[in-house]
Homo-oligomer: 363 residues x 4
């Protein structure tokens, strides 16, 4: 349980960080959607570490293989197995962690839950698990693009106390990808990079915020009550490693507002009902209203540091861990394609639900 | 779809605001749990409007009836039907809203989704739907209390820009219930009440934040990857009417921190591994660590105001709605028992999952 | 768990035989389907006992009420609560069964499963639970009829060793309903009625077979692998009280055949690909092929007899139960509308899945 | 949808007959269960074709690899990826079938469902898909054996009109495996083999029946109403390729019986409540009663013959297919381990459900 996401567009991820493979099975993708390994590789490449100042020493090529569900370049409507080999696995590097619980990691809770764990690089609690999410998200994105023209774009909105100013109007992926921190506010991006370099040298890490925008989302997606768009998006994004908070539209700032400030008044423009403001973030009563969907997710600083870490062993005895292993100073930039992938999974699912549970054509 | 919550402890709510009944069916409650209508009524009574300055004119007695699944005072292990009659329904009051879309309500999106809606008091988009959640949550709470001794306590942490200072250590429900705003910081509570009165006179509404604390949660609850505690809690609470944001532990503030500040160091105390701080909010890698669980949910100001509302009709033509109908100035105080109920549903589900998917006794 | 049926068209039944109500919640019915209480009552009336020689003394009016999900005569797309009061409940009649396990009833297994049971009339193990199924099935049938023109017709094909000869070509519900045993082979029907009368006088009961036919089912419904039509139909019908066997098309007789005899050869007729024979029963590889769907379900003789019953108490001591209580001599005739209802639930679910997971229009 | 089986012990199979791999992901296996590739290989080897007179020319080694979820010989509680390469794939052999619909195959219905199909060897409609089921079933069996001591044993009970006489008392797997037809009635086995040889020479195929027995099943497994053991078993077994019918216990013969003949009377023996007869097949009211579980499944003759086959092309034009390709004359003997695997999946799921939804220890 707990490794499958979605109702109709269903994704199951598998794999431990230092096992043979990681990946996902996608069940519920409609048939006849054009899909190639290259479509998926593009997103996996964005997820990979790489560019200074963010690089982690682990260097995986992360070549995805489609092992089922696609025939002559189109989906069959059967399960799509997406698999990536772990080539740079170095399990011996982790032997000293076998019986150690690092602070604010999953070591202790995982042991409490299962009575067993793969201690090598976090096992399945590793952020490497998100390879499967990104691969599956690429399939979802293909479906969303092809059938409904929905576009998803995420970027880094904050690192530490550095907050970017981004106008989503006209924002492009190229602008996001222009800097290693994936922040389209170039001035903020420069400061963020400097901050990351400095903090990395100090052996520390930083938290951050990723923002996401969805364009072209039709009105009328989402289920009321327990399947509200913001609830499903929240579950999707709060389930990412290190995620600590989620907001839709005005988010927490709404708590400090009056109704007369917050209400989005309607206007009729371009032949459809629109809202003059978008504090709702594109979602009203859990259902899309045709405006841009806007959400934010907060990530804590990664708990692995470049300085000695005060841990304990399984008997509670203090252990001082010397720095080492592979980690990011700030997870937010690499989380950008993962956030996009999870949003794509939620929307693909709701798109299919919309097809199933619409008013019949002739009623 | 979208009206059932949970994997093993499964709740389906039903009912429109001005239909004959609202309520819930609970499937998956273990057998032999003592349960009476009074156990449920207590929470429903807390959910009801009532005390100045928060009262809405609607006056429902909200008597719950258990119509199945309980026999001679104990659960049977069969579906528990919990039902409340809508006695104070006044559908005629809503005739003028039949073809009107109010701003930041579900009127328009609901119509876009279904092509039909019950316009009377928001139909199923009404906060009255939460009667079913609270009733089901009371069953979950009974189970959590009886089997694991888990206790859930929520309170209002913020209204508008008034932020309470609350020490959760030793906090009791009595302290929370001592004020109509359900804020245990008495000074803040007084200011909040004054603010609500004032804003209400101005015909406006206010947002707020509800905080929740879980005590006695064993370590090792939660599923990694897609069933993380914070993901399920986020989905549960973001699905409440007017919810806009969710945080676990340090939440959005974590984005502004360094790893060395944020890490919760372990200590061995009282015969078990504890953490000296609790920035994790009791959840690490999606699994409980035995500390208190801490989360917060932000509510927007209710969009129904005591002043004329600029709406549109179904053709997009402006309609000015005169104030009227029934609403709260700030939803947060009444959301307190609803938040508790949703947290109880999530935890009851994870408690049962823990029973099913644990290491076998003799392995 | 175990009280909900379906993936998209989801039905949860509730209620004990001698509790206040029985019924169902339907979640996942598309919006805007015309639906009245009368549409449902028709099928409930067919399920009711009544006509000699089949009558059981229990006399319930079984008036259904739609308590949510329908507005001004159309479905809202929200949960539809269908409820029937138990008016003729006589719990005191069952006091002597409180600690008794009757043979081939659910008394013992229910106790083993739950450690508690409602002993009154079988509690939830009673065939009275099927009231909820029939009510929900009526909604499914309305949907199937309105959107796809699918028609479902069941009848009694066998009672004891009396096997009917029925030509399904042109068979109508009127012909089925013409006799109390619901067997359209009038000669067999007469013999069956005589047999039932005789066996009833002897204080015994009889098994039987119900056959079902679906007309107008489009080709291409059903999911391969684990959601095959025959698997879902089998689960639906084997889950009925007293059901012991299920066949699709040629069924068990196929085990005795050669491939050259069994294959259904194609022919092109009336502008579509048809098969000359229909040993497949309308389903090939789990998916409908456009021919009539044909299935059969076997029911054991009801274990309650009109003669003393050798039971045991909860300590295993023999108890001789005097005849009494209310039961049918042969369940098959009253199972006819229940079989139709379950088939309708399966098909409504697959119809909606077909809408969700079809090749995109323009691919 | 439709490629996942189970509620808690969840299995998703993947793979096309002539794609790169087939296999399964198991999510929901408890942690710390000892598991090796060899445990799984044993069952896969039994599934493989091989021994005269049943061999199909396709010769796959079918080596399974465990690619995730197992660490140092024990399950982790994470998804277990079981993968088998398709080495003997000869896609070019199937080019002539690209636009042909063979009679009583899935060619036409699959095309009707998806608008696309992998025509090579049946694609995912091939019996090769059952490799994943058998692999996953081996994991389930390991769990059942280790935690509850449940044992599952299937055999061939009928081929064509040859019906075996088998006393399940004391029956062993060795006795079943003693003959290529997997029929422990040696006299019948010999006749069956002769019949298969003869019919194969005539270019024809045969149907058959597989019987299954479960020993050691505790009383109290199964969910009433929609999760009855016989309903879940029926769905599991009717979903196998070529399955046409399913019976539990007395099955269809119950339709011809009287209640006084059919009732299983209780007796107190060996310190527990038992039944003197077992017409219930170990299941009463959908819940196990502690007796041996008994079920049967009927398979049609495989539609691929060793003689020219009258097919049609996608325009409905007749095509005469010359014999060729790879097939079994009778599927029943090879279905034996597949039937066992599916029964294991159902029971593992119900075993875990039993753990989750039992009366609390101290109530």
């Amino acid at each position: 349980m707990g490794n499958t996401f979605g109702r109709l567009f269903r994704v199951t991820t598998f794999g431990e960080s230092h096992g043979p493979v990681v990946g996902a099975v996608v069940d519920g993708c409609p048939p006849r959607i054009p899909l190639s390994e290259e479509d998926i590789q593009v997103d996996l490449d964005r997820r990979r570490p790489g560019r200074e100042p963010l690089a982690t020493p682990r260097s995986e090529e992360d070549r995805v293989r489609i092992l089922s569900g696609v025939f002559e370049g189109r989906t069959l409507g059967t399960p799509i197995l997406l698999q990536v080999e772990n080539r740079d696995a170095r399990p011996q590097d982790y032997e000293h962690l076998r019986e150690v619980f690092r602070p604010s990691h999953g070591d202790f809770t995982w042991q409490a839950r299962f009575g067993i764990r793969d201690h090598r690089g976090g096992g399945r609690a590793s952020a490497r698990e998100t390879v499967g999410r990104v691969a599956a998200g690429a399939v979802a994105r293909r479906l969303l693009d092809m059938v409904w023209g929905v576009e998803i774009l995420a970027w880094v909105g904050q690192i530490h106390d550095l907050v970017a100013r981004v106008d989503p109007e006209g924002l492009t992926r190229e602008q996001v990808e222009a800097t290693p921190v994936r922040c389209p506010d170039l001035k903020a991006a420069e400061e963020m990079q400097a901050r990351i370099r400095q903090v990395r040298e100090e052996g520390d890490s930083l938290g951050g915020v990723v923002e996401v925008l969805v364009r072209g989302l039709p009105a009328g997606w989402g289920a009321p009550v327990f399947g509200k768009l913001q609830a499903d998006l929240g579950a999707a994004l709060l389930g990412l490693p290190a995620a600590r908070g989620f907001e839709i539209g005005s988010g927490f700032s709404a708590a400090g507002m009056r109704g007369s400030e917050h209400n989005d008044l309607f206007c009729w423009e371009d032949g459809r009902l629109q809202t003059r403001t978008n504090r709702s973030g594109g979602v009203q009563a859990g259902i899309s209203n045709g405006e841009d969907l806007r959400a934010r997710v907060a990530f804590k600083p990664v708990p692995t540091l470049g300085q000695p870490l005060e841990a304990v062993d399984h008997l509670g005895r203090p252990v001082l861990l010397q720095p080492g292993g592979r980690h990011d100073t700030c997870i937010a930039p690499r989380a950008v394609p993962v956030v996009e992938a999870m949003v794509a999974l939620v929307l693909a699912d709701h798109g299919l639900l919309r097809l199933a549970l619409s008013p019949p054509a002739h009623s």
